[in-house]
């Protein structure tokens, strides 16, 4: 009798060339804070600017459904961190917050984290948004390079330096990520 063919799942990927990703814990808060305070991140993202605040954010994220805070390294150097929030268990979507030392060099690091999220959880969609200040340019390019679609601009939603500021929204569907990975980095497919 022929045995039915059983598909073998693709394994988790925690390293890709010189990139690696591991779980971000409260013990990493110091490293995370250094990245968070770099450049104009505090204006760009609604992130804590103290050690205690970041520890709290990490713990809160881990306690949420599908909470998987991640810390990325390039070689031995920390390259950035990624968390999700506002998880919607009915629509299977989550807000993605990615903070990188150098967004222009972080496409594959971001893709590695996204892969880990889609690989682990039945997420249908990830989305992100940030105010359109000059520091946003690098992230706008980063998300576009990583396969996200720019879905529009919410006008005057944010207040940055006391000024009403537009907020750009990006979204990525699971199937779009799989198409993107097939075209750009097949090792990330699953």
């Amino acid at each position: 009798m022929n045995q039915p063919q059983v598909e073998t799942p693709r394994p988790a990927i925690a390293t890709l060339d010189d990139l690696s990703v591991r779980r971000l814990t409260a013990a990493d808060a110091g490293m995370g804070l250094e990245i968070a305070l770099a450049g104009d991140h505090p204006h760009l993202f609604d992130i804590p600017t103290s050690l205690d605040g970041l520890r709290q954010l990490i713990e809160q994220t881990r306690a949420q459904p599908w909470g998987l805070p991640m810390l990325c390294f390039r070689g031995e150097r920390p390259a950035g961190w990624v968390i999700t929030g506002l998880t919607n268990l009915r629509a299977l979507n989550a807000f993605l917050l990615a903070v990188f030392v150098d967004p222009s060099e972080s496409t594959m690091a971001l893709a590695l984290c996204i892969r880990h999220l889609f690989w682990n959880f039945p997420l249908h969609r990830l989305y992100t948004q940030f105010p359109l200040i000059p520091a946003a340019a690098g992230y706008r390019e980063l998300y576009t390079r990583a396969g996200f679609h720019e879905e529009g601009v919410m006008q005057r939603h944010a207040v940055v330096s006391s000024q009403p500021t537009d907020v750009v929204v990006f979204g990525l569907l699971r199937e779009e990520f799989l198409t993107w990975s097939a075209a750009h980095e097949p090792r990330l497919g699953f």
Binding site: E151, G152, M154, R156, H157, V159
Partner: protein, 203 residues
């Protein structure tokens, strides 16, 4: 609060329109409001069964929509401050389409948005499901264009749907609402119809 409307409602006095009365949610009307949940859950435009919400109303308490003619509670209007965006009111409006004509719903909507701005909202943020033709048509007539299309962001009636995001300041709202105010009671124009093949105003 910054406006007389807000002050009125702090004293729990209802807002009176021609077709509708908006009154704060309270112990006295809680049972009627609970009964609205069933039609609300069965209305795809409202996204089906409500999920738990953690953000309380920020710009004024929720208001119950009551038809002036029959005193029947037909809807609920509420808001919450958008997480991460101070001053942005995410407005959620439900008016039972089986019991309130479009004219009454429109009047309730305009009164409620006025109210949210009166309570100090900087921007009103509306999310409309992409298949909600009635509301989208109304917004189009007011020359309000969606700012964002959140692709496949909502799971409703067994499918993923896009969610269209509208946002406007008080100044923009006044421009949007001006043509509607002319059509509503007290305005200088008679409506042809609010909604398809319907006479204006509730029965």
């Amino acid at each position: 609060m910054s406006h007389a409307l807000g002050s009125d409602l702090e004293a729990e006095s209802p807002l009176k329109g021609h077709w509708v009365i908006l009154e704060p949610l309270s112990a006295e009307n809680a049972v009627e409001v609970a009964q609205l949940n069933r039609p609300r859950e069965m209305t795809p435009q409202m996204g089906g069964a409500q999920e738990r919400r953690d953000v309380p109303s920020s710009f004024g308490p929720p208001l119950v929509v009551r038809l002036a003619a029959s005193s029947e509670a037909v809807g609920l209007m509420e808001n919450g401050e958008m997480i991460g965006y101070p001053g942005v009111a995410v407005v959620v409006i439900f008016v039972d389409p089986a019991r309130a004509r479009a004219g009454a719903a429109l009047e309730a909507y305009t009164m409620y948005i006025d109210y949210v701005f009166a309570w100090g909202a900087r921007v009103v943020h509306l999310e409309v499901l992409s298949f909600n033709r009635e509301v989208l048509s109304l917004l189009r007539k007011a020359k309000a264009a969606p700012q964002v299309r959140l692709r496949q962001h909502a799971f409703v009636a067994g499918h993923y749907w896009d969610l269209l995001v509208f946002g406007f300041t008080h100044a923009e709202w006044l421009l949007q609402v001006a043509p509607w105010r002319r059509l509503m009671p007290g305005g200088d124009r008679r409506p042809k119809a609010f909604g398809r093949n319907r006479k204006a105003g509730p029965e």
